[in-house]
Symmetry: C2
Subunit: 710 residues, 2 copies
């Protein structure tokens, strides 16, 4: 099972259709796919001439290759242990090879903390894991379709994970000293083709809608970020015929591109300054001012006709330079524009290929090829393949995004607007990476076998701030307003709004004001009856959620489950039946104790558990009447939970002794309002639950009173 003999050909079948076919035949197909993946990955390490190649750091911010050698096997084990399908083989290895791929907070890249084992031991471990998984594939019950719940899903997860590392490890190997590598290994030879560089040109792409995201019923393995729905109308744009070649990029370098701050984003300039970069990483400046070029295993003469490989920051600087030179709106495509080009050029999806339509899937050489090698429709080249293509779009989840419980941090830590998507695949992209639906993103300064195509478009790039709300003050109120009900307590803001709507059913219902609107649910609910609803909260962090819902119809947030473990939640107004009236709602920041005079002329003011969270609650009550229309309603919900850290004792409405007698907030409110208001009906209790963790909650009882302006 070891792979000591030199591989000459990597077998790269397309990823498995998990939906149809004979189950036992499917079992064998998965077994074959597993072994061929495992073989391919081990073939990556065959060119290592010396054990020191394993422990040499190719990149200062990444583990040495020995980590990645063990990692793909350990990943299988860790997921299968989590799925309670296997027992550990080597707990020590399964700890040190577990984490350290991205620059996550939990990545420990201090090499002093690691005593890397001998590569032979790791090879032996890999063999044990291979055997273990092979046996597991034999014995697991199989049933089609294989979905998220199937025990075969973590096996597919391990395989596709290893295929990702097949590519990313090849990038790291490309950064090892050539002296440690057998440059002539037959399986990893670069192309020897270098054509005359072509002048790039812009080809028009007509606008159209693109629909993205796949369903859980899809027949192929997918990472969590691929599921859900998203569609966008794309306006006409122009796209470069070719990927940008080394030759085309040279003009930017020679024009002082790397030393002119104007062309760089702030993040880009920080990177250039830190790295002291003067050209793309795989260009090797020579003493005579010329360049050589680094492939995976060796240095070659500069292939000017091959696509340039840069990180996002360099690609973006090139576009800015080009825009400055041409006066044209040059930029990188968005994710959606890239898909539009894919649709426009009618590229079929991988499983339908007889042969890859571009330089992909290791079907060609172990390197790029000239940018004019692979033509697509309408005159384009390399719509997919050769090198990945940077986009302007940070990765985020589509509507309906859910997390697979066995890999809850595959995507969400990258939903931070700091990880931009790359599309289209490279010569070494295989498996899931070839699928139309696949979505990968890296930090903008990371290198992959990635270059770019530029577009000309006036359409602004919208970078949706589509990260997950994690503000610990805000997220309990997201769940409280839009999430699950706990302890059989009805959704509080919904019920509160319903009570208001019922009471006001035969009254004028033009304008309503919600004071203490939190994340907005009551305001949206009131819009069913009122033409104009303003929600006000003191905290911009709270109303941000309401604004998001109004503008986008959805919001998403994390909830702490236990300690650092969180779950991810998305809510949509549509699912709550609140989508139709969201244009009637607005959210403003405001201070109850110092509320602007403009907030007047209401038919309803709902004051929701805010008096007890204001520094001078009496002030509002004194102005309440003049803010209401004739016969307008003031609805007050309060727990009367006065706290000194919020309201100084001399401003408490109740819970105090006045002239030696106990005064409750309820009494005091009645006293303050009785001149200008008539109390309607009796007060009532309304429970609400704030979730803190999976097992801890606040459970309160608001007192609800209704007042009619005299």
């Amino acid at each position: 099972m070891t792979t000591n003999s030199a591989t000459t050909e990597i077998k790269t079948p397309y990823t498995v259709n998990l939906s149809t076919g004979d189950p036992e035949a499917k079992r064998e197909e998965i077994r074959r796919y597993f072994h061929e993946t495992y073989d391919a990955y081990e073939a990556l390490f065959e060119p290592f001439l010396d054990k020191v190649a394993y422990t040499t750091r190719a990149d200062a911010l990444r583990h040495p290759l020995i980590f990645y050698y063990g990692h793909t096997a350990t990943f299988f084990m860790n997921k299968l242990v989590l799925a309670k399908l296997v027992d550990r083989i080597n707990p020590g290895f399964e700890s040190i090879f577990a984490i350290g791929v991205d620059e996550m907070s939990w990545d420990d890249l201090n090499e002093a903390h690691y005593a890397w084992p001998d590569p032979d031991e790791v090879r032996e471990y890999r063999a044990q894991v291979r055997e273990c998984i092979d046996q597991l594939i034999s014995k697991l019950p199989i049933k089609l379709p294989i979905g998220w719940e199937s025990p075969f899903w973590p096996i597919m997860m391990g395989i596709e994970h290893e295929r990702i590392h097949l590519e990313t490890s090849s990038v790291l190997i490309r950064q090892l000293p050539t002296s440690l590598l057998d440059g002539e290994h037959p399986a990893w030879q670069p192309s020897d083709s270098d054509t005359t560089p072509q002048t790039n040109e812009i080809i028009a792409v007509p606008g159209k809608s693109v629909a993205l995201g796949k369903s859980l019923e899809d027949a192929y393995y997918g990472w969590d970020n691929e599921y859900g729905t998203y569609s966008k109308e794309i306006t006409d744009f122009g796209a470069s015929k070719y990927l940008v070649s080394n030759d085309e990029f040279l003009a930017f370098v020679q024009d002082g591109g790397y030393s002119n701050r104007d062309f760089w984003t702030e993040e880009g300039w920080n990177w250039v300054s830190y790295e002291k970069a003067t050209c793309p990483r795989f260009w090797l400046p020579q003493p005579d001012g010329s360049y050589k070029f680094r492939t995976m295993l060796k240095e070659i003469d500069m292939p000017w006709s091959w696509p340039v490989e840069t990180n996002y920051l360099e690609a973006k600087a090139f576009c800015n330079w080009k825009a400055a030179k041409t006066g044209q709106p040059v930029r990188l495509p968005t994710e959606e524009e890239w898909y539009r080009l894919l649709d426009y050029t009618e590229v079929p999806d991988a499983p339908a290929w007889k042969k890859a339509p571009g330089n992909l899937n290791l079907e060609g050489p172990a390197s790029s090829v000239p940018v004019d090698t692979h033509p697509f429709k309408h005159g384009f080249y390399d719509v997919v393949g050769n090198v990945w293509q940077h986009t302007e779009t940070p990765i985020r989840g589509y509507d309906g995004f859910e997390i697979h419980p066995l890999y809850d941090d595959f995507s969400t830590p990258t939903f931070d607007t700091k990880h931009n998507m790359i599309k289209g695949g490279s010569w070494i992209s295989t498996g899931n990476e070839l699928m139309r639906d696949s979505r990968y993103a890296f930090r903008r300064h990371f290198y992959q076998h990635a270059g770019f195509r530029y577009v000309i478009s006036d359409a602004p790039v919208e970078i949706p701030d589509d990260s997950w709300e994690t503000d610990p003050e805000v997220i309990p109120y997201c769940e409280f307003n839009y999430g699950k009900e706990y302890f059989d307590v009805d959704n509080y803001p919904e019920k509160l709004a319903q009570i208001c709507l019922d009471i006001a059913s035969d009254r004028k219902r033009e304008k309503a004001l919600v004071l203490g609107c939190k994340t907005g649910r009551a305001a949206f609910e009131l819009a069913a009856g009122y033409k104009n609803v303003t929600g006000i909260d003191f905290s911009a962090r709270m109303i941000r959620i309401g604004v998001q819902l109004k503008e986008k119809g959805y919001t998403q947030y994390t909830l702490p489950e236990e300690g650092e473990i969180s779950s991810f939640h998305q809510v949509k107004l549509q699912n709550l039946g609140l989508d139709g009236t969201r244009d009637r709602v607005e959210f403003m920041q405001g201070d109850l104790s110092n509320l602007k005079e403009i907030y007047q002329g209401y038919d309803l003011i709902l004051l929701d558990t805010l008096l007890e969270r204001s520094y001078d609650p009496q002030k509002f009550l004194e102005s309440a009447s003049k803010r209401l229309n004739e016969g307008g309603l003031l609805v007050i919900a309060s727990t009367y939970d006065w706290q000194e850290k919020v309201t100084s004792r001399d401003h408490w409405l109740g819970g105090i002794k006045v002239n030696g007698e106990n005064v409750t907030g309820k009494d005091r409110i009645e006293e303050l309002l009785s001149k200008e208001f008539k109390k309607l009906g009796t007060s009532r209790d309304l429970e609400y639950v704030l979730r803190r963790t999976a097992r801890t909650f606040d459970h309160n009882i608001a007192d609800l009173t209704v007042w009619e302006k005299r």
Copy 2:
């Protein structure tokens, strides 16, 4: 209605029987009692020669008399407003005359904050209040018996309150300069009797049980502290035949009693030093070394045969001096010993009197009389009357103590072990003060018309620390363990213990350990099945409650309702069916993360929501097995709510990523225990509710797992 003409006789009927009689006749009886009380109080102020007498401070720590003049009327109004029976007459007066009687935190005695009105205005206000109450007495529906809920109760409350101030204001007047007073006012003339001082002697009082406290069905008005039950076995003691006379006290003074620290308690010595006292307050040292004496209105020759009047601290110093001189265990009586003497001398209760059995009820002169004037059975004098008698006993509530909602701070602020009881009444004690059941207490340095009788007894004085638990960390756990159920959630520790008892029903049940016992309920519950239960908590503040319950069978605590307003609660093991086994339970302070080795040999260890509140929870789990007997059970309840402020992140059992994978506390506990334990059954959820205020709660769900030692 004003009382400008000099009163010559104060009418002092006994307090009203509220239980029997014709309702309309009762209405008139109350009206008469009201007016006679109001008259008597106003008569107090008749001797004032000048308005300045109203605004002169008689005592640096008390308001001037003008406050007390207005206060008794305002008290009526404030209670009747609170009871929603009347509207305010003069909100300004009803604010400034409301508070400032004791030295409470809410008393504002800074005179700069007061602009006292003219006494004539106050007199006019008093007349308005009198008229208002008279009308109220006419119109209120009346029904016998008149109990706590009756609208006549606040009227009786106001009357008896004014009768208290009749006495306490007379003490303040006694401290005004005589130049401001008409010393010859006919209603307030002192006795002119002064007999030859008698030598005091000790008379034996045989021990017996005393039963104290009255029921809510009692026919007479009572303050909250009088209700409930309490009984105590009194051992034989000796009591002085007479109250200590001025003559007897003189020996102490002449022996340097006021300058010898040895005789004084620390509190007493602080008082002597601060006041620079050299003799009792109403003794007036003359330049020739003799003394004159101050009565309510004037100075007279020293009546050596009258009872000495001191505060508690001086009385106590005298006893200590006498004990030092005689080698006898001389001290003041306890409350119970005073009652024993009352019972032994068969003193009937006030309503049965034809004439007061001592110098009481203003039936004699407006002063004390010689201590040999009023004989009682068995040779005693002044068992009641003449002056109040200091006791060793700080006031507290009896079992079943409840607070009347219209006067929730009559007693509880004095249940602080700093207010000692005085018993027996003085020449100016009237109304409720004459009743056997009445209980009054003052700060130990306060002066009243009070002296003392000493006793000889070896019985130690037990000062029950009978204050109300107010520790904000502890009181939610008092209610949680012993109080009401909220949101229909069963009592958690009771249910938890029941589950343990059920699981262990056919096992050895000798020794059980509760870790995280809080205020002890689960430990008491487990004692139903285990012979020996140890409850351990990290917090001595928590286990103090358990210890109290074990030792006394009851505990009492306040609960925040809203802001500063609290309610008062008493719980008894007996009412929970837990009284019979409390000797099987012990409570210890201990640290789960560093638990002593001696805690071994258990058949059950219940680990209740403590792992998540320990700084190193793993440590205990590693030792759990060796602490259990063969087949012993470990029951773990946890919310897995790891918090950094309690447990540093590297000691969290779960809620963390280990090698990049989520690990839950539940998983980790299973991993740690699986070698030495077998898990029994499946885990289950157990809800619990912690009350924070009347409307705010924590509502959590513990996960319960049961482990059997292999």
